[in-house]
Amino acid sequence: MWLPLLGLILGIALGLLTDIQIPAVYENYLSIAVLAALDTMFGGIRAKLQEVYDDKVFISGFFFNIALAAGLAFLGVHIGVDLYLAAIFAFGVRLFQNIAVIRRILLTKLDERKTKKQEK
């Protein structure tokens, strides 16, 4: 349980410490990657809580979402339509939905614990 959190902290530390310069043209791609990563992360947490978690779905979802978003952004840049907004919109909506689901599940679990304590 603590391993992913450790990995997250390690990754953030690595990202902060490395001084990689990305050209301004690719900043759109980065924003999409961030959103995709967050979406996948919360999606994974939600799946875990709903007990429908699957490794393959999680991993393939992570990479496929990032690839799709990057492809959309690439296409958008080249045909002059801001298609990356679609990816951002989709990811944003899903992010909120996932977080809402997580919140509800956590709330129900908290309630269950309270009732258990009272029963004891």
């Binding site: 990995g7 530390a13 990202g15 902060l16 924003s31 967050l38």
Partner: protein
């Protein structure tokens, strides 16, 4: 089946957690990089106050430079116009100068300041032969009035320089009569008087030879006048002589 699952479980567990670790590291990495980038961008961003301030100063500098440029361009135009004016004046002045130089040359020749040479004529005025009938020798010697007549005629005819017995005449020369000799600028000259004049010989001679003119008058007064045209008469300058 259960056994199999139990055997597989630790490895599955480890693999699962390993993948989770890698994915979370990647997520963290991406987030960290984008945070870093935004931080860097903020420094360089056009919205940062330092950047704005710099932009402002640069703009002001540019404006002042442009104004200065404009001023200098105006000045340049102005100066070029002045130069053009000067050049025009210069060309007209050059023409004037040529005229002036020629004029000065002519005037110097007239003044006798410089030595001159050229075509001209040589006149000789000699006293008439002794006439025993005449009681007055003044009737047949050369007087200053005769010389005046000749000189006046010569000058009118365009003589540029005149000498009498080798002495150059200036514009302010004076000639006076002292009996048999005449005094030119304080120097005495005896007869016969050789008058040399530079000018167009034909013109000079024809002007002297006008019927009732100078020659006739001189012959009337019984003075021997001879003249010859010369292609080259050279004259000393009066400054050299005096």
């Amino acid at each position: 089946m259960k056994n199999n699952q139990r055997n597989n479980r630790p490895s599955l567990f480890q693999r699962k957690y390993f993948i989770m670790l890698i994915v979370s590291i990647m997520i963290g990495f991406i987030i960290g990089i984008s945070y870093n980038l935004t931080k860097d961008n903020k420094k360089l961003s056009s919205r940062s106050p330092i950047y704005l301030q710099q932009q402002e100063t640069y703009r002001e500098e540019l404006i002042t430079q442009q104004e200065r440029n404009k001023e200098l361009a105006d000045e340049l135009n102005h100066l070029q116009q002045t130069i053009r004016k000067y050049e025009k004046e210069l060309t007209s002045n050059a023409e004037q100068h040529e005229d002036l130089v020629a004029e000065a040359e002519r005037l110097r020749l007239l003044l006798g300041d410089i030595a001159g040479q050229g075509q001209g004529i040589r006149l000789t005025l000699a006293d008439g032969e002794y006439d025993p009938n005449s009681t007055n020798p003044n009737d047949y010697i050369v007087h200053e009035s005769h010389i005046f007549k000749v000189l006046t005629e010569l000058k009118i005819a365009g003589a540029e320089a005149i000498t009498i017995n080798g002495q150059r005449l200036k514009t302010n020369s004076y000639i006076s009569c002292n009996g048999p000799v005449i005094t030119i600028d304080g120097k005495q000259s005896p007869a016969p008087f050789v008058i040399e004049a530079i000018g167009e010989p034909d013109t000079l001679v024809s002007s002297l030879e006008i019927p009732g003119g100078v020659f006739d008058q001189l012959l009337n007064e019984r003075i021997n006048v001879t003249f010859e045209k010369s292609n080259l008469i050279s004259m000393p300058s009066n400054t050299a002589e005096s």
